[in-house]
């Protein structure tokens, strides 16, 4: 808090607003924006990894692997996101604790489920009961990232699977004619060329991922939606130095602007990436780029 903010009741106008916007509670809101950005920064590559793995598995010549890849895509794509989020995080959390319980407390003779309680021995708790709060929060965040990555990975897998199949057959045949192995063809020909087909789909996924971040709230991570609701609610002077009426509409408006600016910036970046991936491709976009380059004449 700024030093000038010691007695907010005497302030008015801009100074009041500045003090109000720098309370510890508001700093939590700004942290939450960082949390959302961090989630995106970790989840996007993680989901791509899951997607790539899923797509490769679904294309595999080995039958069990192919089942695994196709099963993953079909199951996650077919379940509502929210149901998956609520189920998976609890199941994962309790699964990890159960495994730790079996390993660390082999002498435990009581059942893990007692009525509505889920009970594991103290050393099996994840995180440990006496761990500081930030460990609990980081653990919750990590579970959220993993869940997001699995859900969006399934969609990415489907996009990449389609993109790999869209690479012209002639390209692959030529590679084979040059004597490349299956692996070489995949690495040198299919993967570099698939991006032009994959980008529109992946771009869509990215936009949906940005918009899905408020789901964090469902997972108990205190995200920007939580803080917007908490800060916006009407406050009486008895419990705060900054009483105000119901301001939720302004807070949610700010959220709206934040997401809109963010998605707009993403669109611009995606358009550039798309132009780059189309370069030299035997597609309509690639052809347009070639003509534009030819008309510009020799440099």
């Amino acid at each position: 808090m700024l030093p000038a903010c010691t007695d907010p009741a005497t302030l008015e106008g801009l100074p009041w607003l500045l003090c109000y916007l720098t309370t510890g509670k508001h700093l939590s809101l700004y942290w939450a924006v960082g949390t959302v950005l961090l989630l995106l920064a970790i989840t996007a590559p993680a989901a791509m990894a899951f997607g790539f793995g899923g797509a490769v598995a679904a294309r595999s010549g080995v039958l069990p692997l192919r089942w695994l890849g196709k099963g993953y895509i079909a199951i996650v794509r077919g379940v509502p996101d929210i149901a998956f989020f609520l189920f998976f995080v609890i199941a994962l959390d309790q699964g990890i604790e159960y495994l730790r319980h079996r390993i660390k407390c082999p002498d435990w003779d009581q059942p893990v489920r007692q009525g509505s309680d889920f009970l594991v021995c103290d050393v099996a708790k994840m995180p440990l009961g006496n761990a500081p709060q930030w460990v609990h929060e980081t653990y919750g965040f990590a579970l959220a990232v993993l869940t997001f990555a699995i859900v969006f990975g399934a969609f990415a897998a489907n996009v990449l699977y389609g993109a790999m199949r869209a690479v012209p057959r002639a390209q692959v045949e030529t590679a084979e004619a040059y004597g490349m192995t299956r692996g070489q063809t995949f690495r040198r020909i299919v993967v570099p060329q698939m991006w032009t087909y994959a980008l529109p789909g992946l771009g869509n996924l990215w936009m949906i991922l940005i918009k899905a971040t408020p789901l964090l709230f469902l997972l108990g991570v205190e995200d920007i939606v939580y803080w917007a609701r908490e800060l916006g609610a009407a406050k009486t002077s008895r419990f705060t130095d900054y009483p105000h009426p119901d301001w939720r509409v302004w807070y949610f408006l700010a959220l709206l602007v934040f997401y809109l600016v963010f998605t707009r910036l993403s669109e611009i970046v995606l358009a550039r990436l798309s132009a780059r991936a189309s370069h030299g491709q035997a597609t309509a976009a690639g052809e347009r780029l070639r003509r534009a380059g030819a008309n510009a004449g020799p440099h």
């Binding site: 309370t23 510890g24 509670k25 700093l27 939590s28 609890i90 959390d93 309790q94 990890i96 604790e97 495994l99 730790r100 390993i103 660390k104 007692q114 009525g115 509505s116 309680d117 889920f118 009970l119 594991v120 103290d122 050393v123 708790k125 994840m126 440990l128 009961g129 006496n130 761990a131 500081p132 709060q133 609990h136 108990g220 205190e222 609701r229 908490e230 609610a233 009407a234 009486t236 002077s237 008895r238 419990f239 705060t240 130095d241 900054y242 009483p243 119901d246 939720r248």
Partner: protein, 241 residues
Amino acid sequence: MRAIAIAVVLALGGNAALAQDTIRMGTEGAYPPYNFLNDAGEVDGFERELGDELCVRAELTCEWVTNDWDSIIPNLTSGNFDTIIAGMSITDERDEVIDFTQNYIPPAASAYVGMSEDADIENGVVAAQAGTIQAAHVAESGAMLLEYATFDETVAAVRSGEADAVFADRDALVPTVEESAGELAFVGDEVQLGDGIGMGLRESDTELRETFDAAIETMKADGSLNDLIVKWFGEDADIYE
């Protein structure tokens, strides 16, 4: 693959510290004056002060955690925190799922608040926080129940005209009515619900429940609990004899 294997090993085998002496206190942080987040974003209110004092008396290290009201009981039973101290009334229905300490606030009145004193609370629309004894009471009365996730939203619904009245703990409504500059008013008679407010614990945590029970007993005996109730709820609040 190796990275995943290492992560699994860490998750399953890491830090084998023993001694669980930190008690995680679960609260909602959105029900002043019982519990709320102050300007610094920390848990504050009657229950914060009470909980800290109980932990001192019971010689426990306590840590505060906020959780949505909706999922506060499931998160207790699955072990995400160890106690619920969130203005939760002791009811038979909840007692089947979790255990309660003795009450630390005597059975208190619930009340209706509307935009005027003649708001229709018998056949009109009444807002209440979902999963509270007040919501259950409205559902059984003739009024149409409108449920919201937080207390703030129930009051906002009355102000915006979506509901004719809000039904909640009287002690939570008093500051709201007083600060509304005559806009809001109590409607009808007060209603006695529940067996007072107590701390919720897992049914299997008998030892911890007895510890807190004893600490509450000492605070009742030396009058410090009454002082705390008067401090946060005013001179008119019900106290222990």
